[in-house]
Symmetry: C2
Subunit: 331 residues, 2 copies
DNA sequence: AATTAAAATGTAACCGTTTACAATATGCTA
DNA sequence: TAGCATATTGTAAACGGTTACATTTTAATT
């Protein structure tokens, strides 16, 4: 059917070993042989079957990035970082989506178990810590953009407690005392951590936590709309809202505008992620920026180190975040 | 090192053939053997090495989707459709990004040539028609979301000429005579086609094409901003603008707002893609919707059919689009 | 020219599966 | 119980590469 290394060997009148050596640019092969092989390769339009190679070498030089969906655009930057690091080491990055289904996430991890890839990075996993911990003992798994409590697996993320605290502290510093938060119903660790940061900032400034100021939704726009509407409808409404994501923050701004509040004046809105829309939407959104590209680069660098060595680094790495201040907080 | 089918065979006290039969649920294997093998598999934590299997069977049951970047969120829906069709046929879909670099696109196609995947779908390819035509002769390649002039490769897209014509005709139907278009500098076929649709709509309604009304930028927000500003700055400004993408349209709306035009009244804006932001942004955007999920599903169905048979279907399929009318055209 | 080291090449085993084919075990019929 | 069909099992050859090792060729040294 398809042309193999044997066909090339025959055409070039050399052995398969020589062909392999030429193809892999190994030393100790004569210029004549190189020419003959290259000619045969062109002639026949040969390209090596990686299944054979990968099987023999027991490595694929491929890393799988497992993401929930392509909707969330900041995965894009993480991917860029992952690819930079991967290409530098001669690896390729493949992406697969779980559509928020832990079962599908597990199915995709099957590519790792079946040795179709050398390692996998879970971007914001849906599987629980215990499961992943177990798998990470025997496989090259890493987690990025999220941490899992009590999960012994290589993890690269930011310090969401600090990030939440920084954002809220900034609002406090501007003199706000009535600060609300729109968080998520789903208890991801990043939400828990950002909430914890919110609480700590209040506490350290001697402000009593107010149950009514904590609204639960999801990461999407509609949650921001309904959350903001609910919060501003309170008898004693907040003057600032810290949102779990930029999408939520944009929803919140839309709701505030509809209620004729002057954003950045009557009401401050703080987002999280610094998605590209946060500076397209008017007013421009203040937000927390994660170093996405860097996280991607680091996680792949460390994962590849794990793949290459037998000692497994399964530590937690937290990278620095930063605040981006724009119109929505009056800046 | 790692546990193989031989280890399982030894532990279950059967031959590797029997293990393989159990694993693949082949008939004619005794209940005893099934039990023994399953016990051994659990015991040893065995999972089959697909490199071996794939090599032997010369198939991977994997399809690669090659996209420019994850920035453009509507790829997400196409992916969903692709996965639906793939999973129904027992295939997996992997994604890889080119970052708009044709060389990288070619590198990724290498996964196809090296038989690491059974087929590849190019979502909006950057390689030229001739190159792809050549490759498609010997490989299972398909194109989606874009067509290439004179490219003999399986293609699934919409009729962009009609789509452009429909959008502009709608504006004409509302009585507008001065209709501009913001297109792209880069001559992708979809841009060319949508422009052609724009021209045809004008022509059929007896309106002279006005060079000044055709602005060239890219697919991003900033092009919309500068394009709209330029168009509205003309001595004889248009009263409606058809934009090559929703991102551009949103930029255009931002510019129009800044210039204190009432969108949907003083100026109509029409987008393309129906991205989720088009109904979040205020005013809501009128736009052309492509059947993304359907395109994904169809392209994979047909690609898998090609993979399974030896006859190669390399025709062009155009799926129906629709107009979504919202506030930005006064609806 | 003989000796020897170095360079180039080839042979064949191996990676982990699947599967054609052969061999054995089982059940049924007469 | 022999004879035969059928069900179950095992053996070994692929699949397409890489690479250790053996072998041949070439170049260098005397």
């Amino acid at each position: 059917m398809s042309v193999t290394i044997k066909d090339v060997a025959r055409a070039a009148d050399v052995s398969v070993a020589t062909v392999s050596r030429v193809l892999n640019k190994k030393p100790n092969v004569s210029p004549d042989a190189v020419r003959a092989v290259e000619a045969a390769v062109d002639e026949l339009g040969y390209s090596p079957n990686f299944l054979g190679r990968d099987l023999r070498k027991s490595e694929t030089k491929r890393i799988l990035a497992i993401i929930a969906s392509m909707r969330h655009s900041f995965y894009s930057d993480v991917l860029i970082g992952m690819e930079q690091a991967a290409i530098a080491e001669g690896y390729d990055v493949l992406v697969a989506t779980t559509h928020d289904d832990p079962a599908h996430e597990m199915r995709l991890l099957g590519m790792l178990f079946s040795r179709s890839v050398d390692g996998a990075v879970l971007l914001a996993p849906k599987l629980d810590a215990k499961t992943i911990s177990g798998l990470a003992e025997n496989h090259n798994i890493a987690i990025c953009l999220e941490r899992l409590e009590n999960c012994k697996a290589l993890t690269v993320t930011i310090d969401n407690v600090r990030a939440g605290k920084d954002a809220v502290s900034y609002l406090l510093g501007k003199g706000h005392k009535k600060i609300a938060m729109i968080s998520t119903e789903i208890r991801t660790q990043s939400s828990i951590d950002r909430e914890e940061g919110y609480r700590r900032a209040l506490k350290e400034n001697g402000i009593q936590f107010n149950e009514q100021y904590l609204y639960y939704g999801d990461y999407d726009n509609e949650s921001g709309v309904s959350g903001c509407a609910a919060l501003l409808g309170l008898k004693n409404p907040p003057t600032a809202i810290f949102c779990i994501s930029d999408m939520v923050a944009i929803g919140a701004m839309n709701a505030a505008i509809k209620l004729r509040r002057k954003i950045g004046k009557d009401i401050m809105i703080f987002g999280f992620d610094n998605i590209s829309f946060s500076r397209i939407f008017s007013p421009h959104l203040s937000t927390v920026e994660q170093p996405c590209i860097l996280q991607g680069r680091i996680v792949v660098e460390k994962l590849i180190r794990n793949i290459k060595s037998d000692a497994r680094d399964n530590k937690l790495y937290m990278l620095p975040h930063s605040l981006i201040l724009r119109e929505s907080t009056g800046d």
